[in-house]
Amino acid sequence: MWLPLKLLCTVSARYGIVLANSAYLNALSRRGIAELSGPGGKLGHLIYSSTASAAFDEHGLAEVLEGARRNNARNSVTGLLLYSAGYFFQVLEGEPELLRKLFEVISADTRHCNVTMIIQEPISRRMFGEWSMAYVSAESAELAGIEGLNTSGEPLANLGPGRAKKLLSVFIEGRWRARLIEAS
């Protein structure tokens, strides 16, 4: 059965998720699937943002993330998830048709809303090739790659220039966040 990529949610953290040790979670996600692409060798990325609509507890989060990563690794999907102050930003890399289907599933997930597809296009190589789903907090993203600093061992340490990095940096500046209607 296809398990949708689960989204992590929390309401408390100002900078990313405080629930789980992201270094530990990221260690789980290194799968050595660096340059794999899907059938036919086509490779693309899909980048979207959304607004969290539910919270997860510590346990749920770790389980969900690990499960999602297992599925991603099986499907040669790599990428990055960033959470900042109630908003998600996610880069998915893999076979384009597979990403389209995955995005349909993700869009239907009720734990987030305002799902906004920013870009879907072909790429020549993966930016997050080692990560079945790297998690970074806005804070660590700000410190790594974006300001030109390197945090070795972190998913952003060797992030090459390109659209994913630019959009990530734009998100950290505060763009692509819907003005959320407070649900009544």
Binding site: K42, I118, E121, P122, S124, R125, R163, V170, E173
Partner: protein, 254 residues
């Protein structure tokens, strides 16, 4: 015509002209971002004199031969930046042939495909949206980046961005001319710049000729600049950048 014959024909054709290079300068980083290849005659005759010789069917081959020739010369003179090449997809019946030969030339001269940018005009991109997107996306998979040239020149470039997001847009020179004193142009360039920033698209201003234009653009965070103020095209050579980049005038990026 098979690929081999076609490639050798294009190589022969390429021997009839040459090219000059003009830098696109990243004034924020204080270094060239790319060099655009501009066609010239063998004795550095201007582009129009060369282009006028190729019409109709012959123009498609000329277009492809220009890119091959530019790659060959760029590799020879040791261009280390990206190389920006013009691309006229509508010229060819089989537009793929045009970029296949470009990729083949890059491989033959050990010029990395991910340092190649192809520039197509806004009009070209819009004329046949779907065809254009299909062709270009094929080559983006190989690492080639796409620039839309003459952006904002009167076609519906904004519609284009809704369908298809290039890597770079090059502002139409008309927008750049005297921008420091022209309100409507300023408003348009600010809007394009913000929109491109949000989509991860680099904005290049070409035809920058005066320090007033330069200063206005840098203040508006348009920091990829091309034009006589920075460097004139140099025939089969890498021109040096002519002005001291006034770094203190550069605003912090967004």
């Amino acid at each position: 015509m098979n690929a081999e014959t076609s490639a050798s024909r294009l190589r022969e054709l390429g021997k009839q002209f040459s090219c000059a290079f003009q830098p696109i300068v990243d004034v924020g980083a204080g270094q060239p971002y790319a060099h655009e290849a501009l066609v010239r005659g063998l004795a550095a005759e201007p582009a129009y004199a060369v282009i006028a010789q190729y019409k109709g069917e012959a123009f498609a081959e000329f277009d492809a031969a220009c890119r091959m020739r530019a790659i060959e010369i760029a590799a020879r003179i040791g261009i280390q930046t990206c190389l920006s090449l013009n691309f006229l997809p509508s010229a060819a019946n089989d537009a793929n042939a045009g970029l296949d030969s470009t990729l083949a030339a890059a491989a033959a001269h050990s010029f990395p495909a991910d340092r190649i940018i192809v520039e197509a005009t806004e009009g070209e991109a819009i004329a046949d949206h779907k065809r254009f997107a299909n062709i270009v996306n094929e080559y983006r998979s190989a690492g080639i980046r796409l620039a839309i040239d003459d952006f904002g020149s009167g076609h519906s470039g904004l519609n284009l961005l809704a369908e298809f997001q290039p890597d770079i847009v090059k502002l139409d020179m008309v927008l750049v001319r005297n921008i420091h004193s022209n309100g409507p142009r300023q408003a348009i360039v600010r809007a394009i710049s913000q929109m491109c920033h949000d989509l991860g698209i680099d904005v290049v201003a070409e035809g920058v000729e005066t320090s007033d234009e330069y200063n206005w653009l840098v203040d508006a965070n348009v920091t990829l600049l091309q034009g006589y103020l920075l460097a004139k095209p140099a025939f089969e050579a890498i021109p040096s950048i002519q002005i001291d980049l006034p770094k203190q005038a550069i605003a912090t990026p967004y």
